[in-house]
């Protein structure tokens, strides 16, 4: 997203600055966007996204700093946040391992039905989250046909969140693995590197940025997730109540300031995760440039 303006084929340079005359010269001033359109974009994003988020941020400080601090240091709030972050980290880790493995199998392996497997990876994105929750409850709930009862336990949270975040790492790693130059791997093998060495020294470093991006996206999705844990999670304070459920509860007991404060904390955690990712990604691309 930071590269937004980099790919623009023309129109970036100011008109006339060494540009050839004639039609092409004039084309540099063509933008096709009127100030009205820019205003519309601002207005649309402000009404739909910015104003609600501004409202929640401001209202979380309705009772001042101390009110905000009290809200987020409440025992139940801390429990909910701790469980959320802990479970989300486990989920991200599972996704790193299995997401990479699945991407590998989908790119480097051939077997009948591969196209089908590739298509169902996106199912968790297409499936409504509440349906995902119900689906898992039918398998691990009170009427479990395999007699495994996990509802209202932390493993159930992990399974639900792993289900909804499945595509992130797979879909990030897959295209990178496709593009990866296999000559280098062959060279390493010819030079006597074992499979493990080739993987850790050649393949993994190339995949790492995409794996981390996928893991970060899975993590941010997991900390905010609500629908998929609502039926199977159990909402037990201090045990399986995640932050989003705590927020909902605070709204129900008419404590909007508490709800707003925890919401702001969730937003901040998500921002930090995304920021770290961007920094890691940038460092990686700088390193690649140096290598070249």
């Amino acid at each position: 997203m930071s590269t937004a303006t980099d790919h623009k084929p023309s129109g970036d340079k100011p008109a006339g600055a060494g540009a050839p005359g004639g039609f092409l010269g004039r084309s540099r001033t063509f933008s096709g966007v009127s100030p009205v359109q820019i205003g519309v974009a601002w207005l649309w994003l402000s009404i739909i996204v910015l104003l609600p988020l501004a409202a929640i941020t401001v209202q979380s400080f309705d009772n001042g700093w101390s009110g905000f601090w009290d809200a987020i240091t409440d025992d139940a709030a801390i429990d909910a946040l701790r469980i959320t972050v802990w479970v989300s980290l486990i989920v991200a880790l599972i996704n790193v391992v299995f997401g990479t493995l699945i991407a590998w199998v989908l790119v480097r392996d051939e077997f009948p039905g591969k196209a089908f497997v590739n298509a169902i990876i996106d199912l968790p994105f297409a499936l409504p989250t509440i349906v995902a929750s119900l689906v898992l409850l039918s398998l691990y709930g009170p009427n479990s046909p395999i007699d495994i009862q996990l509802n209202a336990t932390q493993p159930a949270l992990v399974i639900a969140l792993t289900f909804v975040t499945l595509p992130f790492v797979v879909r990030q790693v897959q295209p990178v693995l496709l593009e990866l130059d296999r000559d280098v791997e062959e060279a390493a093998a010819v030079l006597g590197a074992s499979n493990v060495t080739t993987f850790t020294k050649i393949v993994l470093p190339a995949l790492l940025p995409s794996i981390l991006t996928g893991a970060g996206l899975a993590f941010t999705r997991a900390i905010g997730e609500f629908g998929s844990v609502v039926l199977i999670g159990g909402n037990i304070p201090g045990e399986t109540q995640v932050a989003s459920q705590y927020i909902q509860q605070q709204i129900e007991v008419d404590e909007p300031v508490n709800a707003a404060a925890i919401s702001v904390v969730l937003l901040v955690i998500a921002f930090i995760a995304l920021l770290v990712l961007r920094i890691v990604g940038r460092r990686q691309s700088v390193r690649e440039e140096k290598d070249q």
């Binding site: 084929p9 994003l45 609600p52 929640i56 499936l127 919401s263």
Partner: protein, 315 residues
């Protein structure tokens, strides 16, 4: 990397077993549960008055959210790709925000903005109910679906550049004609993909909607809310399965559409970039000659216009 068949096979088995246990087993189980008592029973459960009005409400929300997202999404994408204005980087980040925000937080934010005692809470005292009313459902759905159209249209706009539009403008097409005949055909696959994602998310949204809905059957209960309330409030397990299966059918349709469009769009994008690399010499020259010819050669200018759209159409 020389992988022995044994290693290859075990990697494949582990990956497939993981997907089987996590994805395939639960999803097939719920299909089976829905039709356990026969198709007739399933049909009865999804045609109760509450279910029908829930489906209607969900579809009405989609019918409102999609056009709004298309119009404002394209406008936003155009502004982000072609505009140069202060705060553009900030606006870029704002577009991605809905992906990073928890649906419940969306709900709370809307309550604190539009609800009783909120910034715009005054509207409620005028008798226009937003939170716990229909507009709240729409606002929540727009919030969570906002990035889709923008993010799908943006790369296509960037890829096609502005040469063809310039040619059209030079030939006397007004802004609307240029958009309708050049830009829109070029972005239509990206746009379709964005719309499919928007529809899927609109129908499937639960967290944000449940926060701002009063959840009255027949009034403000969408399909996803129906699934939840059947399971937890009515203890109607199989009714919930039936409604969930209905949503699942939609999800599978969406999945098929996504795969299909992705294939088409990939072809289009490759085509567009090809025609772009060919463009600086080719189309600019013809445009120039047409421009210098001016209005004296109407047949020539229509040929260029046709060529410009035809390039997108072809193959």
């Amino acid at each position: 990397m020389k992988i022995t068949p044994w290693v290859r096979l075990s990697l494949r088995s582990v990956a497939l077993a993981y997907l089987f246990v996590l994805l395939v087993v639960p999803v097939s189980l719920i299909f089976w549960r829905s039709f356990e008592h026969g198709f007739g029973q399933f049909w009865d459960w999804i045609t109760t008055p509450a279910a029908i009005s829930a489906l209607q409400l969900s579809l009405i929300i989609v019918a409102i959210v999609v056009p709004l997202n298309v119009v404002f999404g394209i406008a936003t994408a155009l502004a982000l790709v072609r505009g140069k204005f202060p705060g553009k980087g900030f606006l870029q980040a704002v577009v991605d925000l809905p992906f990073a925000v928890s649906p419940v937080v969306v709900g709370v934010a809307l309550i604190l903005l539009w609800g009783h005692g909120g910034w715009f809470g005054g509207i409620e005292s005028l008798g226009f109910r937003i939170i716990f009313g229909f507009p709240g459902l729409v606002l929540a759905t727009i919030f969570v679906t906002l990035p889709f159209v923008v993010r799908e249209v943006e790369p296509v706009l960037r890829e096609i550049g502005t040469e063809q539009e310039q040619a059209a403008a030079t030939l006397g097409a007004n802004a609307w004609q240029t958009f309708y005949r050049i830009t829109l055909p070029a972005i239509r696959w990206g746009l379709t993909y964005g719309v499919v994602l928007t529809i899927a998310r609109s129908l499937g949204e639960y967290g944000a909607v449940t926060m701002v809905s009063s959840n009255f059957p027949g009034v403000s209960q969408t399909l996803t809310l129906l699934v939840h309330s059947r399971y937890t409030d009515d203890y109607n397990e199989f009714g919930a399965y039936a409604a969930a299966t209905l949503l699942m059918f939609v999800a599978i349709l969406v999945l098929i559409a996504m795969t299909f469009i992705e294939h088409r769009a990939k072809g289009r994008l490759a085509e567009a970039s090809q025609s772009y690399t060919a463009a600086p010499g080719g189309s600019a020259d013809t445009a120039e000659s047409a421009a210098s010819g001016g209005d004296n050669h109407p047949s020539g200018s229509t040929a260029v216009l046709a060529g410009a759209t035809g390039g997108k159409e072809g193959v």
